[in-house]
Amino acid sequence: MSETATRSIGLGVATAFAALIGWLYARQPQTIAQVTGGLSAVVGAYAVDEQSFEDALRFFRNDQFVEARMAFDRADPAVRDARTQFYIAYSYYRQGWGRTYHDDRLYADGLTAIDRAMALAPAGRLVVDDPNLGMHTPEEVKAELLAGLRVDASDFNPLRVFRTRK
């Protein structure tokens, strides 16, 4: 191999390796699935497992939220799909919702998930056309979760028991 070819290949390999390291520092993946999924997403080759997603939706609609999240995690192991993260956040909202109280821990987890969904959405915009949902955008879900975590005068309004879960 000529010296010029060796030097060109070396420059290319070093640049690619440096870019990979930069990406790893920025994304902080925790599992190999997140690494491979993230790299696939960079080249536009990442897709959720549709079968697992359908299973998760079925659980979600039956109010089996823990099972639904397990299936959503299986569908999106790299945590790269905005729609799946939206449903995960929604599952935390529905599970944590109560007529007289909200579960702050579940709402906080939901907030983390909805922030992920908003970060992953193309151009930051996501609309989920699901007639079974009362909220269709991450902004609505986030506002609802934030309101649930906030303590204010409306929390002491006895009429809140008539509110419905979205």
Binding site: R7, G10, L11, A14, F17, Y25
Partner: protein
């Protein structure tokens, strides 16, 4: 130095050091970039390396070299800097008095080495000993003290140093694999230093006795 070593081996060795050295394996895995302070120490380390002849920058960047060759040389220099910073960061404890002490120690060590101006061989030997010693202090002594349990070794060391450090000695114990990753990081970095294009020592000619003055 061959083109393969300059373009392929050295940048990738230093990038591996940057990657593995940044791993912090605890309950979760995080990648920590080198802090501004260790980047400064990395610059000092390069300065010492140039001064001692471990690194000869004119063999990496020169007007007589082609643009591509200079680009390869620049990549080696940048990756060396980042790897040097990361190798030092691996050896510095994460918190408390030990972190402060190691930070000051490395700064003084590099300034002192620059003042002493050792040759290539002595500098490489000095780095191997210093990095090895710091590795033992952090991953054997400090983590031995911080690990749960009350062994005889731990009790003896705590009795020795507890008053000196005002109790701020205990570190968060990392995953056991962290020590192996650090060892690999330091080993690779030292190998990288050894492979750098170095300055040849000046050739000394010794005259035969019959040509010497006064004979």
């Amino acid at each position: 130095m061959t083109a393969a070593r300059e373009a392929l081996v050295l940048p990738n060795v230093f990038l591996v050091v940057l990657l593995i050295g940044g791993l912090r394996i605890g309950r979760t895995i995080t990648l920590i970039p080198p802090s501004p302070y260790v980047l400064l120490l990395g610059l000092l380390l390069i300065r010492v390396a140039v001064q001692s002849g471990v690194l000869s920058p004119d063999r990496l960047l020169a007007s007589t070299r082609s643009t591509l060759a200079n680009a390869n040389g620049a990549v080696v220099l940048v990756t060396l800097w980042l790897a040097a910073a990361q190798a030092l960061a691996v050896l510095i404890p994460d918190s408390g008095v030990p972190r402060l002490a190691f930070n000051v120690f490395f700064l003084i060590l590099l300034l002192n080495t620059a003042a002493a101006s050792p040759d290539r061989q002595r500098l490489l030997r000095s780095f191997a000993v210093t990095f090895g010693g710091a590795f033992v202090l952090k991953f054997v002594v400090l983590h031995g003290l911080s690990a749960p349990g009350q062994g005889a070794f731990k009790r003896a060391l705590l009795a020795l140093v507890d008053n000196v450090t005002a109790g701020a000695l205990i570190q968060e114990v990392p995953h056991p694999i962290a020590a192996y990753a650090a060892f690999l990081t330091i080993g690779l970095f030292l190998i990288g230093l050894l492979l750098l294009p170095h300055r040849e020592p000046p050739i000394r000619y010794e005259l035969p006795p019959e040509y010497r003055l006064g004979r």
